[in-house]
Symmetry: C2
Subunit: 110 residues, 2 copies
């Protein structure tokens, strides 16, 4: 549906805010309601809802409403995608450094 790129935009954008990371942090320990997520944050409930909307739009979090309570939980696949994007670039760079070091070692004796 979307450019893979756009998915990462949304994920990293979502993780860029400390309140949203606090929410993800909380959810990593298990599902929580909107008010539970809001409790430690120094902001209005609508503000928390907006953060939640950003997290859901990014795919990092899903939620379901039962009765009057909305329960939120982590979507590990989306976390995984962001994590792997970084890991791949870092691995590429580090492999490069290894090859460079190996080259220097090999030519040192010449």
């Amino acid at each position: 549906m979307f450019r893979q790129d756009a998915v990462l935009d949304l994920a990293f954008q979502a993780l860029a805010d400390p309140s949203r990371r606090a929410m993800v942090d909380r959810l990593a320990q298990g599902p929580a309601s909107v008010s539970e997520l809001a409790k430690p944050l120094a902001m209005s409930l609508p503000a928390v809802m907006q953060h939640l909307a950003v997290l859901e739009a990014s795919g990092l979090v899903k939620s379901r409403k039962v009765g009057r309570v909305r329960t939120c939980s982590i979507e590990p696949h989306a976390l995984s995608r962001a994590e792997h994007w970084i890991a791949e670039r870092r691995a590429l760079w580090e492999r490069r450094l290894d090859r460079l070091g190996q080259f220097l070692d090999e030519t040192k004796g010449d």
Copy 2:
């Protein structure tokens, strides 16, 4: 110096933009000058400089000027920190799912 949190703010914020991710992607293959980074991007050079400034402020990229050429390169530690923040939360969640599955398996026979 900074809240660890603020470091992650800057890193994820930096990675949230596709042009900046393209720059990191390019740099993962080895150092590059500002103009090399700019070439594939459809924007003015000052715009690229501003993206570079964001990347440097986040610690993801370092640069050094020699003569009139500024050479940029990846800072793998900063990438690593962002990567691990995600990995830890995901691991926590997945361990929770495992315990839950185990619990369900164990009680299934009752």
